[in-house]
Amino acid sequence: MSIAEKSMMSDPSESGRFGEFGGRFVPETLVPACEELEVSFRQAWADPSFRAELNQALKEYAGRPSMLTECYQLGRKLGIRLVLKREDLNHTGSHKINNVLGQVLLAKRMGKKRIVAETGAGQHGVAAATAAALMGLECKVYMGAVDVERQSLNVFRMKLLGAEVEAVHSGSRTLKDAVNEAMRDWVASVESTHYCLGSVMGPHPYPWMVREFHRVIGTEAREQCLERYGQDPDVVVACVGGGSNAIGIFSGFVDTKARLIGVEPAGGAAVGRGQPGVVHGMRSYLMQDEYGQVQEAHSISAGLDYPGVGPEHSYLASIGRAEYPTVTDTEVIEGFQLLAKTEGIIPALECAHALAWISREAPNMQGQTVLMNLSGRGDKDVGQMMEVLS
C-alpha cells in the first residue's frame, strides 16, 4: 500500500475516479455486482494467501518474470538503447494472462461458475479461455464479427480451450460492440457470472483492479532496468487501445523522471482526438460525433480498434504526465517488419505501434534508453500481414 499511497498512480477515489475520469456508469442491475466485485477485490488484494496463489500461477503457469531483451542491432541503427519488456513470452503470448489469472482466481473466490469476456484481436479472449480452462470455469467470449474474420486462428484457439465464441454483428462489429454484448450478457447472468474485462476500462473497480493485476510488468521492469543498467530508462513506450499493457508498465515508472508514451493508432486516437464522454461504464476520452454518438475506430490491429481509452490514461494525459501520440497504419507495417528483420522478433501489430513511434522519434532521443513494452507476439497477425505485404 505504501507505494500506492505516494504514487501518482494511487488508488482511485471512493467513486472510482482518477481526477475527473472513471466512475461507475452502469445499468442499475449491475451496481450491486460492481460493488461486490470492489469489496471482493479489496479483500483479496490485502490477503497474503490470495497474493501467494496468484504469484505462484504467474510464476509457474504464465512464466514470470518476463525477461528484458536489449535490441543491439536496432538500437545501433536508431542511435538509442532500445530495451524490450518481453510480455510476448508469457504463456498465451501476451500480457493479458496477468489480468485473467487475477480475475479468474477472484471469480472462483467469489463463487462464480462462469466468466464472460470481450475480445478484439483475440489475445484477451485466448487468455480468458486459458485461465477458465485451468480453473474449471465455463467461459464465453464475445468478439466482433469483423475481428472473427481477421483473427480466425485465435477463434479456433479459444474453441480448443473449451470456450464458446460468439460473433457480434451489431454496430461496428469490432471491440466496442463486443464489450456491449458482454455487458448485456452480464446484465442477464450477473448472479452466476463474472465479467472478465480485458483492459483498464469499464466501470469501477475494473480500471483500478486490472491495473493492479498488470502492475507486475512495471515493477519487474524497473527492478530489471536498475539491476542491468543502474538507472531508470529515459523513455517508456507502449501501445494503447484500452491501455492495459501501457498502464502496467507505466505503473513502474510514473514516479520516476522517465517520459511515458502511450501510442495510439491514428484511426483510434481517443486521447489525441477525443473529448470526455461516457460509454462502457466510464467517463474518459472518447471519439464521438457532435451528438455524442460513439464513433468507430479504424486500425490495422484489431486489438487497438477501440474509440475510448482507460480513464487513468485520460487522467495521466490531463495532468501532462503521459503523452499520447499517434502513428499511421503504414508506419505500423514498417515497424512490424523492422523488428522481425533486425532482431528476429515478430511483434503483435498492436506493439508495432510503439515501435513505429520509436523509429520515427529516434532522432530526437539519441543516446537515450528507451524501454518498450512488447506486450504480445505477432503469430496471430502473420496471416493478415501475408496479405498486406503480398
Binding site: 442499475e28 454496430g171 446484465v187 451528438y291 455524442g292 460513439v294
Partner: protein, 260 residues
C-alpha cells in the same frame, strides 16, 4: 420525499389513485412512422409515452430496440431532430425520453434539460446513470421541473430500494428481469417480486418495464404494479406493421388492463 410533486407525477398518481393501471408504450424516436405511432398510442389509451433517443451503444437494449435504434441512426436521426419532431406533437399525454447518458453528458446537463423542456418533454429515463452518478443531472432536471425516472433492479438489496425511490420523480421504473429489453414468452417471477418490494417502500407509482411482452403479461404484472412499459412489443409492431399496428396493440393492452 419531494415537497412538491412534478407535474408528471401528480398526473400519474391521480390516475393511479382513481384505480387506473398506467400504460407506458415506448417508441424509438426517428424510426419510420414514430410520430404517428405516438399519436396512435396516445389515442388508444397510453398514460405516458416513452420516446427513445437512439444511441450508438445501447447496452440495456436487446435485438429489437437495437435494430430500431440503428435504423433511426442510419436515417439520420439525432437528439435535436427528434426533439424538433416532438415539438410538433400535441397528444395530450405526457412524454418522457429514454436516452443513454452520453447523450446528456455530451450536450451538457443544463443545456439538455432545457432542450427537453422546450420540446415539451416531462421526464427522462437514463438507464446507464445509476443513483451514485446521478447528482449533476438530477440537479439540472429538478431545476426545470423535469422528472428523473429512476430504475430499480431485481439485484438491489433491500436497503438500496428506498434510496432509489427517494430520488425517483414521476414513477419508479421497476426492471422486470435480469436482462436487456426484449420480448419473452413468460413474465419473469422477478417482475412481480420487485414490484412488490417497491410498493412496500414507496408511494411513487411503480411501473414495470423490460420483458413485459403482451397484454396477458401486462395484466399479470399489474396485479402488483401500478403500470407497465411496453417497449420491444410496440417497436416490433411499428417496424412490422406501422403506426396502425401500434394503435391496435396499445388498445388491446389498455382493454386488458381495464379489466383489473
Amino acid at each position: 420525499m419531494p415537497t412538491t410533486l412534478t407535474t408528471l407525477e401528480t398526473e400519474l398518481r391521480a390516475k393511479r389513485d382513481a384505480g387506473r393501471k398506467l400504460l407506458v408504450p415506448y417508441v424509438t424516436g426517428g424510426l419510420t412512422g414514430w410520430t404517428d405511432a405516438i399519436r396512435a398510442a396516445a389515442a388508444h389509451g397510453a398514460d405516458c409515452i416513452e420516446i427513445g433517443l437512439p444511441f450508438s451503444d445501447p447496452v440495456m437494449d436487446g435485438p429489437i430496440i437495437q435494430q430500431a435504434s440503428q435504423r433511426a441512426l442510419d436515417d439520420g436521426a439525432t437528439p435535436v431532430s427528434i426533439l424538433e419532431g416532438v415539438r410538433t406533437l400535441d397528444v395530450g399525454v405526457p412524454l418522457v425520453v429514454m436516452c443513454y447518458y452520453n447523450t446528456v453528458h455530451h450536450a451538457g446537463h443544463e443545456r439538455f434539460a432545457a432542450q427537453l423542456v422546450q420540446a415539451g418533454i416531462s421526464g427522462a429515463i437514463i438507464p446507464d446513470l445509476p443513483l451514485e452518478e446521478s447528482a449533476l443531472w438530477c440537479r439540472a432536471a429538478d431545476e426545470v421541473g423535469l422528472s428523473t425516472i429512476m430504475l430499480a433492479a431485481p439485484t438491489a438489496p433491500d436497503e438500496r430500494l428506498p434510496r432509489v425511490c427517494a430520488r425517483a420523480r414521476g414513477f419508479v421504473y421497476s426492471v422486470g428481469l435480469l436482462g436487456v429489453t426484449g420480448e419473452r414468452t413468460t413474465l419473469a417471477s422477478t417482475a412481480t417480486e420487485l414490484a412488490r418490494r417497491l410498493k412496500k417502500v414507496t408511494d411513487v407509482p411503480v411501473i414495470v418495464g423490460v420483458g413485459v411482452s403482451n397484454s396477458a403479461q401486462a395484466v399479470e404484472a399489474c396485479r402488483v404494479a401500478d403500470g407497465v412499459v411496453q417497449g420491444a412489443s410496440v417497436v416490433r409492431r411499428l417496424m412490422e406493421g406501422g403506426p396502425d399496428a401500434v394503435g391496435e396493440y396499445v388498445a388491446e393492452v389498455r382493454q386488458a388492463l381495464d379489466t383489473l
